[in-house]
């Protein structure tokens, strides 16, 4: 998979402009009668009525919305529109959710880039009735559209609105129409209709972030701060469970696993802040689900990579790898069934309940009364020290397992830094996180290549015994393993380089500063 451009980058490369003046008003029954347009403008007789279910699609994490865009699906077609102005950027045939990047029509290439590996899901739908009245100038040229929009979502009527849609190159005329509507006594309406529709579905735009940011107080007792972080992580887990069970998007599972891993890591790192026994019990249960969901996640990653694998093989061998696809699909179906079973079990329900209770309670562990910044600072320093120690011990002869351990330690430090970001000095934090991130990336790549090579070998044996594919497939897989091992050597050298960068005085100084500053 190539790097996905950020929404902002994408907006730049696609020439989209973000954020035009919304010209929306709350509906009034008599606006058309009260409206007095300037003499050079008039309402045109020709108007258009539209009726039908309108659906909004976005990723669960609102990637389109964050880029100032919305994907609107009407019975006949799909339009990518700019939030605010409502201008159509591009149109295509009607889409059905869930949709993934590789199934989108070519017109929606921008959308495909924005969503990356995520699926487009329905974020809201309503039964829409709209009337569009055109505003023309002296030449009978269309210069703006006034859209009167009503609808209901789930049987509840939405607040209706009157929206001025500008025509490109005629901004002054659209402004004049908007001013005339305001003069006619219409109240401005904030946001897009999308907001109301999404609210009717019990959500609001950009309400989900897989890395929740919790605003903490450095002086609050450590137990209180930790509880709020745990509550935010629980919220992430709760929101994505349904998506995992319905298998809407592999990213739901990824987010669930990350939330659980973060919670577990914090419980272990911050031992003694919350009552020891329930904290340790929850950490153990989180570990259980982490292990039980690992197989599915691995398979998701594999299936995603298969395209890349194919391309790595000589043309003549490419078809030989197909049985691997069938095999992985079969394994994935089994892994999903196992995970669904686990998530349906009383054990899972008890774990989630224990999580909720721990996040809600008010008992303190022996360190729970200390200031949050003191505890967080100490843990960050400790995690950093361990990372540096482990890193320095690694040499050319160290087994891959040592690098794997280093990666886990780095992750733990990262979780601490991100969880407590709101009470850490921003400058030092950014610098340390950026160095750490680079180190983690190189460790991730190494680990990934190592595991892939190992797994492919195991898969090959398993396929052989289960009757998938023949010797051609095995041969093709052997070629892949060779490639992976070669790349692994380069990756290992990169880890060394990045670690040396991380293990510099400047970084150490900033970690110390963080611990000290967060103390004061």
């Amino acid at each position: 998979m190539g790097a996905t451009p950020s929404p902002r980058e994408l907006a730049i490369f696609s020439g989209l402009t973000i954020g035009e003046n919304p010209r929306a008003f709350r509906i009034s029954a008599t606006w058309a009668q009260a409206l007095e347009l300037p003499p050079h403008l008039r309402l045109r007789q020709r108007s258009e009525a539209a009726r039908g279910v309108r659906t909004y699609l976005d990723t669960f994490g609102w990637r389109l919305h964050a880029a100032g865009l919305a994907l609107v699906v009407d019975p006949q077609r799909t339009r990518l529109v700019r939030l605010g102005s409502g201008e159509t950027v591009v149109a295509a045939a009607a889409l059905a959710a869930p949709a993934r990047a590789d199934t989108l029509p070519p017109e929606l290439v921008e959308v495909a880039c924005l969503i990356g590996v995520r699926a487009l899901l329905e974020v809201g739908a309503f039964d829409r009735q709209a009337e569009i009245v055109e505003v023309a100038n002296d030449d009978d040229k269309l210069v703006a559209r006034i859209e009167e929009e009503r609808g209901d979502a789930g049987g509840e009527p939405l607040p209706g609105r009157v929206v001025v849609r500008p025509v490109r190159g005629y901004a002054a005329e659209a402004d004049a129409v908007a001013a005339a509507l305001a003069d006619a006594g219409l109240e401005p309406a904030a946001g897009d209709l999308l907001d109301d529709v999404v609210a009717a579905a019990g959500r609001h735009p950009e309400d989900y972030q897989n890395k929740p940011r919790v605003d903490l107080d450095p002086d609050e007792p450590a137990a209180g701060g930790l509880r709020r972080i745990l509550a935010a992580l629980l919220d992430v887990a709760r929101r994505v469970e349904d998506g995992v069970a319905r298998d809407l998007d592999p990213e739901f599972l990824h987010d669930l696993r990350v939330a659980m891993r973060r919670a577990r890591s914090l419980l272990t790192r911050m031992r003694g802040v919350l009552p020891t026994e329930p904290a340790a019990a929850l950490a153990a249960e989180l570990r259980w689900l982490g292990t039980d969901s690992g197989a599915l996640r691995d398979l998701d990653v594999y299936l995603e990579r298969l395209g890349g694998y194919r391309a790595e093989l000589p043309q003549a061998m490419q078809a030989d790898i197909e049985p691997l696809h069938a095999y992985l699909d079969a394994r994935r179906a089994a892994a999903l069934a196992t995970l669904r079973e686990a998530m349906d079990s009383p054990r899972y329900a008890q774990m989630m309940e224990a999580w909720r209770l721990l996040a809600k309670g008010d008992d303190l562990g022996q360190r729970g009364g200390q200031g949050l910044s003191v505890v967080a600072g100490a843990e960050i320093r400790r995690a950093h020290k361990r990372l540096v120690r482990e890193g320095r011990e690694i040499g050319p002869g160290s087994p891959p397992q040592a690098l794997h351990e280093l990666r886990k330690t780095a992750k733990k430090l990262r979780y601490l830094l991100e969880s407590f970001q709101s009470i850490l000095p921003a400058g030092a934090l950014d610098r340390v996180v950026s160095e750490l991130k680079r180190l983690q990336e190189s460790l991730g790549l190494f680990q990934d290549l190592h595991v892939q090579a190992e797994k492919l070998a195991i898969l090959a044996r398993a396929m052989l015994s289960e009757g998938y594919g023949g010797s051609d497939t095995l041969l093709a897989m052997g070629v892949l393993v060779g490639h992976l091992e070669e790349r692994q050597r380069d990756a290992r050298a990169e880890v060394g380089k990045r670690f040396r960068r991380f293990d510099r005085k400047a970084v150490r100084k900033r970690v110390r500063a963080m611990a000290v500053e967060s103390k004061s």
């Binding site: 020439g15 591009v90 017109e107 030449d139 009978d140 269309l142 025509v167």
Partner: protein, 247 residues
Amino acid sequence: MRVVGVFSIKGGVGKTTTAVNLAYLASRSHKRSLIWDLDPQAASTYYFRVKPKVRGGIAKLLARREVDGRIKGTDYELLDILPADQSYRNLDLLLDELEQPKKGLAHVLQPLASEYEYVFLDCPPSLSLLSENIFRAAEILVVPVIPAPLSLRTLEQLDQFLAKSRLKVQVMPFFSMVDRRKKLHLETVDQLRKERGDLLKAEIPYASVVEQMSVRRQPLASFARWTDASESYERLWREVRRRLGKK
């Protein structure tokens, strides 16, 4: 972005109606399209009811000043126009002053590459520096040909010019304003179809409804969709699109 020049050395062969209708049909098939009216007579600008005025004139555009703010939306979704302007009369002179006189148009279009799927150039009749710019900016030239000797002669002139200057632009001639009552038209059509394999199959008939366009100031398919003429334009567009193929 695929740039389609609607071009003929001869005037009055149906260039503007072709450019307007093709651009409209492209936008109707969900492709964001732009029509650039390069003719100082501003006929396609007139069809779309836009004022023939470009802020700062063509000189500013060629100096690559913000083409974006000079584009106007038409009455049709996904279809915009870069209008004509009086100053287009001096286009050849202004192009000649550029550092790369033959690439002026292409440079103006460059920033629009990610925004539009199709750009249609409505070109004035001539064989000039502007034409050379068009041959460089466009991927194909759609050339309306009236089945009569004078029109055929100009098509040959175009062939010769392109061959001499070794330009890669693909020429797609088609018969325009075909009057099936005229023996000369029928004979010429038959004759030329035997001679030229590059002729598009679609033929646009001579029809009063096409003339109506200038009264209605709308593309054919928006007011006379089920007429023979309108359907001919749809066939023409399908054929052009197929020949263009995938990039």
